[in-house]
Amino acid sequence: MASRSYDIKSYTGFKFITLACLVILYAPLVVVTIYSFNASKSITVWEGLSLRWYVDVFVGPESEKFKLAAMNSFVIAIIAATVSTTIATLAATAVVRGGNFRLRTASLGLISLPLMVPEIVTAVATLIFFNAIGFDRGLMTILMAHIAFCIPFAYLPISARMQGIEDTYEQAAMDLYATKRQAFTRILLPLMMPGIISGFLLAFIVSLDDFIITNFVKGAGVETLPTAIFGAVKQGIKPNIMAISTMLLGLSVIMVTISYFISKSDNTK
């Protein structure tokens, strides 16, 4: 077949490069996952299958520290994702539906810019900002920083979704005696929902996983899961770290998968 010659699969080395990429990307994760089930105290010597390090995470000597850090992480992630998704939804409504207002392109750029800025820059800037206004570092500073940097992540799927919704739906609603508010809550919001949920999940996972910014703005003694893991690793890698990492990995995979399927489900068709 003629179209066959343009098929990317027919290029020389395609299979090899694909495989190499997959191995480089995922081999470390696979190793960590496998070794988290190791019965041995060593992180390199395999001694057989066991759940002892998972048990250790929950009841071991360091369990209190990790539980508190996990608790902080989840609370921050839920609040940050909720607030940033709300802001992102409003921003998307304004940018996509607000017509050609002044600085529309600028707003769009400003919302997505943080995705391009190196995280360390954002981290330093955020820290300087909190110092400048004399805000004591602690859970609150982490939360505020997370809300701020989660907005672009929540914004992307929401605005993508919204661009796919024709504005005749709202016009039809208003034509049928719905006020602007009713047209928004009864028509636009339900149609946007897959994008909003997708944005929320993305924001949640980004907040949960964040290390650099958190590490800068957290107060002394306040830990989230990533900073706690980092702290523990500095004193030597123990298999319980691998167990925690594997659980976090699993959670991320689940959330990203859900987000993918929700954003794919299309209720406008």
């Binding site: 024709e166 005749t168 739906y169 016009q171 039809a172 609603a173 208003m174 034509d175 049928l176 005696y177 719905a178 006020t179 602007k180 009713q182 009864r186 028509i187 339900p190 149609l191 209720n267 406008t268 068709k269």
Partner: protein, 364 residues
């Protein structure tokens, strides 16, 4: 004709719509009567949809006024205007069932949920879609979606129903059926319909009156028959139906009749029109179905020519005839009485004859 005592549903007075560097409507005025099937007809970009959207409230009015049964509505938001729209792409709410779609307007107008559903059910009965009430719009065919859109717009009993090229997405057969259904629905409900289309045949089929528009201006307003038989200008004559448009010069005017020269020594007499004097070069419109062909001259104004081509178009045969040293004519002959008529073959020498009053002089 529209009776005098009928009230005016929509009165557009000197409406202007300007975008940044483009004027979509240039001081347009027209009145649409109550209980009328009114069509805005014109090519794309003529401003017909803009005018419809101004009546619905989706476009603001740059200048002028729009009255709905005597009430000025140009400053009301769409949700405070008792008019409903059938959108070109239907815009059915995809996340709601057919029944909820139809009930939406009633509910927003303040009916309770059960009342709204009852009203919606009755509307669905009217458009014969009761069995699809609990489906989602995406599970319906194009024709069915179209009827849901119609039911949804009619359910709140608007004073005026606006239809924005609603049939353009349907195939020919379904479109023809829907044209009749729309006309019947209009009679049954007694609601004023304002229909926008670029399809002149559709407009002629359905409308009580037609407003022909181009370039943001009203070209002619009248009953379908009027517009077809007495086009006011060249644009209307050319846009509505098929016609022979000829450049002629007026040789003589006497007793309300004008003798026109077609070139090549051919002459035709038609009714003179005010504003056209002897010597002026104007256009003449002759509908092809009002011409007939004969082998010998029938009267002294028979035009001599030669058959160029016959085109079979189902109900009719369209014959192209070149006049000797003169313009080309299209003549339509109905296929129904072909038995009595001779079909002239290409190359045959023939005469083109005209019914009295078939030729019209056009002002511009």
């Amino acid at each position: 004709m529209v009776p005098e005592e009928q009230s005016i549903a929509i009165d557009v007075r000197d409406a202007v719509k300007r975008y940044d560097d483009f004027t979509a409507l240039k001081k347009l005025s027209l009145s649409i009567m109550d209980n009328e099937f009114f069509t805005l007809l014109g090519p794309s970009g003529c401003g017909k949809t803009t005018l419809l959207r101004m009546i619905a409230g989706f476009e603001n009015v740059t200048e002028g006024e729009i009255f709905l049964f005597g009430e000025e509505i140009k400053n009301l938001p769409p949700y405070q205007r008792p008019v409903n729209t059938v959108f070109q792409n239907y815009a059915l709410f995809p996340h709601m069932t057919v029944l909820d779609n139809v009930a939406f307007g009633l509910e927003m107008r303040g009916s309770s949920k059960s009342e709204a559903r009852k009203g919606a059910g009755e509307m669905l009965e009217l458009v014969q879609l009761t069995q699809f009430a609990n489906r989602k719009p995406s599970q319906l065919s194009g024709g069915q979606q179209q009827r849901v859109a119609l039911a949804r717009a009619l359910a709140p009993r608007p004073k005026v129903l606006l239809l924005d090229e609603p049939l353009s997405a349907l195939d020919l057969k379904l479109r023809k059926a829907m044209q009749l259904e729309l006309k019947h629905l209009q009679r049954e409900t007694g609601i004023t319909f304002i229909f926008v289309t670029h399809d002149q045949e559709e407009a002629l089929t359905m409308s009580d009156r037609i407003a022909v528009m181009s370039d943001g201006e009203l070209q002619q307003l009248g009953a379908a028959k009027d517009i077809y038989e007495r086009p006011r200008n060249m644009f209307v004559a050319d846009f509505i139906g098929e016609t022979n448009l000829l450049e002629v010069s007026v040789d003589k005017i006497a007793n309300g009749r004008a003798v026109c020269h077609l070139g090549g020594g051919h002459e035709l007499t038609c009714n003179s029109v005010e504003g056209i004097g002897v010597g002026s070069k104007v256009h003449m419109s002759v509908r092809p179905e009002r011409l007939f062909i004969s082998a010998t001259p029938v009267e002294n104004e028979s035009l001599k020519g030669r058959v160029k081509e016959n085109i079979f178009i189902g109900t009719d045969i369209s014959t192209l005839i070149n006049l000797v040293d003169g313009p080309e004519f299209i003549v339509r002959t109905s296929n129904s009485d072909r038995g009595n008529k001779r079909i002239f073959e290409p190359g045959n020498e023939v005469f083109v004859n005209m019914e009295m009053g078939a030729a019209r002089l056009l002002i511009d």
